[in-house]
């Protein structure tokens, strides 16, 4: 219950800060490297990181662009291993957001094994 209320409150702050501050736009391309792709748990990790930032975050593949803070939309991207995604952030903390997300996807690989590592297990 409290979690839900908290979300709403934070969203209000977000809109206020958007009006005044100068716009920063950052973009990067990442590749999904973990074997199982962007399934539910990685999608959750992604939106959890994305939601730590105030900037708007859009994630797109060749066909569609979705809200990087929505688990529904992120999981519906259904990105498998090897998929290339474009992440675009707009807002004061856009640069930090892009860095954190790229690190999660490409370096930490959502704490999951890459395809060849998995075969060894």
């Amino acid at each position: 219950m409290q979690a839900g209320e908290y979300t709403l409150e934070r969203d209000l702050i977000l809109h206020k800060s958007q009006n005044g501050s100068p716009k920063v736009v950052c973009e990067t391309a990442v590749e999904i490297k973990n074997a199982d792709g962007l399934h539910m748990r990685p999608a959750m990790q992604f939106v959890d990181v994305a939601n730590q930032f105030d900037c708007d975050i859009a994630v797109s593949n060749s066909e569609t662009s979705v809200d990087g803070k929505s688990i529904m939309q992120m999981s519906m991207l259904a990105a498998t291993v090897g998929s290339k995604l474009k992440i675009k952030a707009e807002g004061a903390d856009a640069e930090q957001a892009i860095n954190a997300l790229r690190e999660l996807v490409e370096e930490k690989m959502f704490d999951e094994p890459a395809p060849d590592e998995q075969k060894k297990c």
């Binding site: 219950m1 979690a3 839900g4 979300t7 969203d11 199982d36 792709g37 962007l38 399934h39 539910m40 748990r41 999608a43 959750m44 939106v47 959890d48 809200d67 929505s70 688990i71 529904m72 939309q73 999981s75 519906m76 259904a78 498998t80």
Partner: protein, 579 residues
């Protein structure tokens, strides 16, 4: 105002606000709302998300151990979905634009997302559809759960509207406030119909698409005499119906006046009228309506609507309460008749492919001896309280009967050892409700004290028609010559063997069949208590000679249509107000 025509299965008129019951596994019907109601439905969606979130948070907190991390992750993912505002917006947008209910919007959006996942080639991702269905169910439980509880905690009179009612649902009704039933599916012998008649409330079934027309709280008129349901009637219609309802009550009252008079034909032949009951408190109703005992106590209702099996004491208490109403008159207790549509299926891991031909009724009991013996123990213990008889359902061959009787003797020995008194000579009988039992009646008669013909199952098994399937239910008719020949065989064989025989199916409470039944030699009938005065009225208006003529004519006819038309005309001459 909208008028829908269905099949009238229980007489009477009722005007009340509607309560809609949706079942969890049934596809939520698309039900439209008024534009002014949108804000309410959107608030319901918000509340459902909020309540589902707190339910999940608790569940997640309960999973703390490391090995449960996977489960914890699943709950965490589901929580993210519940916090996802774009998901909630999709649902509320659908309510705004399409004017649908919260339940429909949730179901529609979630199933849309799930089917998006199912289409993915990657197996790991496509399996995620299961998560979405799980979230859908959780939300629907929040939306529907309150209503389901309402059925037990009602504070005002309502009529129940549903796709189809299960025995578990009807067993949970607060009968003081449920004034009528209306369902999309069902037929004359469906469970809804049986329950409505035994409660004495009007019911109309087979109203295709009714749940899509009615919204919760709408005023609904259920006309159980003409088979009509009127949704949101205008003032004039309500006034007419209130008047009609009074007239009908007067007719009922007139019939009630014959309660004290005996069920004797004009030429002095005594007919015994017994009552069918499902709950002990209905025994009083049987007495009020002029019944002389219980011809069929359907004990399976003891098993429904509860989490655990009834204890021996639960059984005993229910039987003792029933018997106390009929101290020196017969009370026939039928052992548990579950399976197929009821109870046993929910206990199975995989449902049977053909449950009506599967492990049901006596077959289920003979494979679950502990449960069966518990019930027999209680019946025997109660046998000293009055004139108790025990009856086994769905016997198909002699061996089953012998097995059941052997188990009854085992339980008697147990009681001897425990030094508990019981009636050693308790009368034992069987239901004749399969064609095989009917054909073997002369053999089976040697080992029982009585037969009771269950015409519902006998008709369904003889004609190979599922009485609950709307697509073929018109083929279901007890007036079919094949069914009538079997019934006559059973009556003749029981007379030859000099054992008691009665009719206890729905046939016995339908006015058009009474003359025919008396004509083929039936002298005891067991029926739903509310129908007793009307049936007694018919009995008191005919002579056995008239009935014999009707039976002779009918048994010479070859088609169901010809027979039912003839029977209807015959009874209309006797009791015109019945139609």
């Amino acid at each position: 105002m909208e008028i829908k025509k269905g099949v009238a299965v229980s007489p009477g008129i009722s005007i009340a606000r509607s309560l809609i019951i949706d079942s969890e596994d049934y596809r939520i019907p698309r039900r439209l709302i008024e534009p002014s109601q949108r804000i309410i439905e959107i608030q319901r969606v918000r509340n459902a998300f909020k309540d589902a979130t707190s339910e999940l948070t608790q569940l997640e907190a309960g999973q703390s151990a490391i090995e449960q991390r996977k489960i914890k992750d699943i709950f965490a993912v589901h929580l993210r979905f519940l916090h996802d505002r774009s998901l909630r917006k999709k649902i509320t947008d659908l309510i705004q634009s399409e004017l649908v209910t919260a339940e429909y919007a949730v179901s529609e959006i979630m199933r849309g997302i799930a089917s998006h996942f199912t289409k993915e080639k990657d197996a790991y991702i496509s399996e995620r559809a299961a998560d979405i269905y799980d979230i859908e169910r959780r939300l629907l439980r929040q939306l529907l759960g309150g209503k389901r509880e309402d059925v037990e905690h009602l504070t005002e009179e309502v009529v129940i509207v549903a796709h189809e009612l299960s025995p578990t649902q009807t067993a949970g009704f607060n009968r003081k406030f449920v004034k009528g039933l209306a369902t999309n599916a069902g037929g004359r012998t469906s469970h809804t119909a049986i329950v409505a008649r035994s409660l004495g409330i009007p019911a109309v079934v087979a109203l295709e698409g009714l749940t899509e027309t009615v919204s919760g709280g709408d005023t609904v008129i259920i006309d159980g005499n003409r088979g009509i349901v009127i949704v949101n009637p205008d003032d004039e219609t309500i006034r007419q119906y209130e008047e009609y309802s009074l007239e009908f009550a007067e007719l009922e009252h007139k019939l009630d006046a014959i309660r004290e008079k005996p069920a004797v034909t004009r030429d002095g032949v005594k007919i015994t009228l017994l009552g069918n009951i499902e709950f002990p408190d209905e025994a009083e109703l049987v007495l009020q309506k002029g019944g002389e005992g219980i011809g069929l106590y359907r004990t399976e209702f003891l098993y429904l609507n509860r989490d655990s099996e009834p204890t021996e004491q639960d059984h005993y208490r229910a039987y003792a309460e029933t018997i106390s109403v009929f101290k020196h008159r017969p009370v026939i207790i039928r052992t548990m008749d579950l399976g197929a549509d009821k109870y046993t299926q929910s206990k199975r891991f995989a449902p049977e492919p053909n449950p009506f031909l599967g492990l049901r009724s006596i077959r289920f009991c003979l494979q679950n001896l502990t449960m069966f013996k518990t019930q027999l123990h209680a019946i025997l213990r109660a046998s000293v309280l009055g004139e108790v008889k025990v009856m086994f359902p769905l016997i198909t061959n002699l061996q089953e009967l012998m097995q059941a009787k052997m188990i009854l003797r085992d339980v008697m020995e147990d009681l001897d050892e425990e030094s508990i008194s019981y009636n050693r000579n308790i009368q034992t009988g069987i239901m004749i409700e399969t064609p095989s039992a009917a054909l073997m009646a002369s053999t089976l008669a040697r080992d029982v004290d009585f037969f009771s013909i269950g015409t519902n199952d006998l008709t369904q098994y003889t004609l190979a028609v599922d009485r609950g399937n709307e697509l073929v239910s018109t083929l279901y008719s007890s007036a079919d010559p094949a069914v009538l020949r079997l019934i006559r065989t059973v009556i003749q064989d029981s007379h030859k063997a000099q054992i008691d025989v009665s009719i206890c199916g729905e046939m016995a409470s339908e006015p058009e069949y009474i003359m025919l039944l008396l004509g083929i030699g039936v002298r005891t009938i067991s029926l739903a208590p509310p129908m007793m005065p009307e049936i007694k009225q018919i009995i008191r208006s005919v002579t056995v000679e008239d009935c014999n003529n009707v039976a002779r004519k009918v048994l010479g006819m070859n088609s169901e249509r010809q027979i039912s038309n003839y029977l209807r005309v015959a009874v209309r001459k006797i009791l015109p107000e019945a139609f």
